[in-house]
């Protein structure tokens, strides 16, 4: 059948089962937009192309399928960049399609010409410039395949306008077959497994570090089986939250900069780390020189470049996590680590007294309380999307995730403005689920224009703005490390209730703890998108905190009485 390049784009999208494309039109992508009207794919008109990339990313993370964003050349394409870098850092499979000036004009600084394959080269898993209509079909197929296979990631396809307009006799291709150099399915050498088994059998104080890879490989169940059989405690990264139920008795909680204190101590005291699909981010390790120095290390990761990157390991197993655990688990013997688990329990007990939840209710509205209340009132059922900052860490600490893929957050890039658009993407991926965006007053304002998108598309999400009047996380660093000199962190916000109103949406304000429940329930009942402006205590901080680059067990801890927070000296040094 005779097809234009622009039609072939949609032919492939349909063939790939794409239900929704997030995008914004412009001159160089116009032919493709024109062809869109004849295909059964929903298009969501965003308010800024960054939003399109975050929506595709949120969609991908919640569904496990590839998310798609579309933009025009030049400024449209460059607006995608933050979203692409965000997806790259967190291994999220998205395909971005951009229009490019006609191939004859490429290199001439034509109107709205940007070398977007050049710009995105280091922040995509792979990218393509297509100037020949014949190449559109195969390249698009390849793009989807590369995005979702192996370690997933963003792929960009830049298509010149003339290629979109030209026609060919189009025959849909089955699978991409032209990738001789691409190896998404690496496996480890047998001796690595043997060595790993030995280390696991010998260990007395082992601990599993479960990362995002657990969910990406679908290893949730076998992780539990593995932990139960070997009685090895599990801790997760931020992106690993939900990979094992929060309530599982072997789950110790999150590790790292704002992880649980007992977890960080346990890691430092361990004699074996089992890193499962996590990449030893610096937020996770603290000072590498003193990180788990007494522990042997086993690292299982699908990406060989991760092995020995940050932490030198004793055994590196390259491969899919689930497949690897399926090989290892039957060869392991049943174990007990009673003394070790009891020891971690003791560490945990000691910390509980500092927990904000254990402190008397003074009536003040603490962000941690709000988030914990949302968890309680919603029975932990919603999918939570966060922005970046203090609220994100409190979410990680006080919203207990029982199920995988229920926390969507920008970890590696820490992109403010991610929350609202990503939540819109999640909405499309999970039409049946309740979706909450928990955002800061700062980050929300970065992409709040996407509220118009919610209104235009008639979609329902709940937005909890944790409004502390500051760029809270930066203010916290200023409090701890810059003598409370609050340079450029106090932030004035618009009246969020009126903002909601201006969009024809419901806005609510909550100033006291007693109002939280009503507001949350009201939001749940409202058919449209709701914004709740939670006016929380302004100068609260996230504890514990490992200062950047400090030893993992040198944590700043919450002063034992909240009342002292304002004046008290910081309690450093851990135990």
């Amino acid at each position: 059948m005779e097809r234009k390049g622009a039609q072939i784009v949609w032919e492939v999208l349909t063939q790939e089962g794409v239900e929704v494309v997030f995008g914004y039109p412009g001159g160089a992508i116009l032919p493709t937009y024109d062809a869109m009207l004849d295909y059964p794919v929903r298009h969501v008109l965003v308010r800024h192309e960054q939003g399109a990339a975050h929506m595709a990313d949120g969609y991908a993370r919640a569904s496990g399928r590839v998310g798609v964003a579309m933009a025009t050349s030049g400024p449209g394409a460059t607006n995608l960049v933050t979203g692409i870098a965000t997806a790259m850092m967190d291994s999220s499979p998205i395909v971005c399609i951009t229009g490019q000036v006609p191939s004859t004009a490429i290199g001439s600084d034509a109107f709205q010409e940007t070398d977007v394959t050049g710009v995105t080269l280091p922040i995509t898993k792979h990218n393509y410039l297509v100037t020949d209509v014949e190449e559109i079909g195969p390249t698009m197929r390849e793009a989807f395949y590369v995005a979702r296979s192996g370690r997933p990631g963003p792929v960009l396809v830049d298509i010149s306008k003339d290629a979109q307009i030209a026609s060919i006799e189009y025959v849909p291709a089955d699978a991409p077959e032209r990738l001789p150099g691409y190896r998404p399915d690496l496996r480890a050498l047998p001796e690595e497994y043997e060595h790993a088994l030995e280390l696991i059998e010998e260990a007395e104080r082992p601990i599993i570090l479960a990362g995002h890879g657990v969910m990406m490989s679908g290893a949730m169940q076998i992780l539990i089986d593995f932990a139960e059989k070997t009685q090895i405690p599990v801790t997760t990264t931020l992106l690993g939250l939900g990979g094992i139920p929060a309530s599982h008795p072997l789950n110790q909680g999150m590790m790292g900069m704002h992880g649980e204190s007992w977890v960080n101590h346990a890691i430092q005291e361990a004699d074996l780390l089992l890193a499962f699909g996590m990449r030893f981010d610096d937020r996770v390790t603290g000072n590498l020189k003193t990180y788990a120095v007494n522990a042997k290390k086993i690292h299982i990761d699908i990406d060989p470049t991760e092995i020995d990157k940050n932490v030198r390991v004793d055994v590196g197993i390259v491969g899919d996590l689930r497949e690897t655990l399926e090989i290892l688990l039957p060869q392991l013997t049943q174990k007990e680590h009673t003394a070790w688990l009891e020891h971690i329990d003791e560490l945990r007990g000691d910390s509980a007294v500092r927990d904000i939840q254990s402190l008397p209710d003074t009536g003040a509205l603490y962000a941690a309380h709000v988030i914990n209340d949302i968890w309680r009132i919603t029975e932990g059922k919603p999918i939570i999307v966060t922005d970046v900052g203090q609220h994100q860490m409190w979410e990680a600490q006080y919203f207990k995730h029982e199920k995988p893929f229920t926390l969507i957050t920008s970890g590696g890039l820490g992109t403010m403005g991610f929350g609202l658009p990503a939540a819109i993407g999640v909405r499309f991926a999970k039409p049946e689920d309740e979706v909450w965006a928990i955002v800061g007053d700062g980050g929300f304002q970065m992409t709040q224009a996407e509220l118009s998108t919610c209104a235009q598309e008639g979609i329902k999400i709940n937005v909890a703005i944790i409004n502390n009047g500051f760029l809270g996380m930066v203010r916290q660093w200023q409090e701890f490390f810059y003598g409370r000199r609050y340079a450029a962190t106090p932030m004035l916000s618009p009246d969020f209730v009126k903002l909601a109103d201006a969009h024809g949406l419901l806005g609510l304000r909550v100033e006291e703890r007693g109002q939280v429940e009503d507001a949350v329930r009201r939001a749940q009942q409202e058919p449209g998108t709701v914004i709740i402006d939670f006016r929380v205590v302004q100068e609260d901080s996230v504890y514990p905190m490992v200062p950047a680059g400090a030893d993992l067990d040198a944590m700043i801890r919450r002063p034992s009485s909240i009342v002292e927070t304002a004046e008290d000296e910081l309690v450093g040094g851990g135990r």
Partner: protein
């Protein structure tokens, strides 16, 4: 910790032979990878192979064995890279080629040519006041020749950078397993 008696953390020049798809932008992808990961390129030579559509690069990198393994893995990760070989510890012929334009008039020409003879370099162009000398060999050999020519006055020089080929008949480019996955050995002990 030692690997085959070597110290894996000692810095040295590592030489990689890299086969890539001959497509626009591939050299850029390779160069960008080294820049992005702060791997230190000493030299990079690229040219066609006997197989259409496939180019061959020789990349010399100053680093230790542990990082060298990461270089290899990162190169493999590029979609257009077909095969990577770290030939550093294999029996390998390594050559650099240089053209050196050196001042030489009737009074010094004989002397210059004599030096070239010692190094088995050849004069490939002669004018009344200069010579172009061609030399192939290891980097050290070329540098030594430069040392002795410098007093005469080097006017201009160009070098190709290192190219490498392993000895023996095990030729990777004709191997049917040309693109077979190779897992970098992940063990640190």
């Amino acid at each position: 910790m030692t690997d085959n008696g070597r110290n894996p953390l000692r810095e040295g020049i590592h030489t990689f032979v890299v086969y890539v798809e001959d497509k626009p932008g591939v050299l850029n992808r390779v160069a960008s990878l080294f820049r992005r990961r702060a791997f230190n390129i000493e030299s990079l030579a690229v040219g066609p192979t006997d197989r259409p559509g496939i180019s061959r690069m020789t990349i010399a990198v100053k680093t230790d064995d542990v990082v060298a393994r990461r270089v290899e893995a990162n190169l493999y990760k590029l979609v257009n890279v077909l095969r990577v070989e770290n030939v550093t510890h294999l029996p390998t012929v390594m050559r650099d080629l240089a053209l050196i334009k050196v001042k030489a008039d009737s009074s010094t020409r004989a002397q210059v040519l004599q030096m070239c003879d010692v190094f088995r370099a050849r004069a490939v162009d002669v004018t009344p006041d200069s010579l172009i000398v061609e030399i192939t060999g290891t980097e050290e050999k070329i540098e030594s020749l430069c040392e002795v020519l410098r007093p005469f006055g080097i006017l201009e020089m160009v070098r190709t950078g290192r190219v490498a080929m392993t000895r023996g008949s095990d030729v990777p480019s004709t191997n049917p397993e040309f693109v077979a996955a190779r897992v970098p050995n992940g063990s640190a002990s």
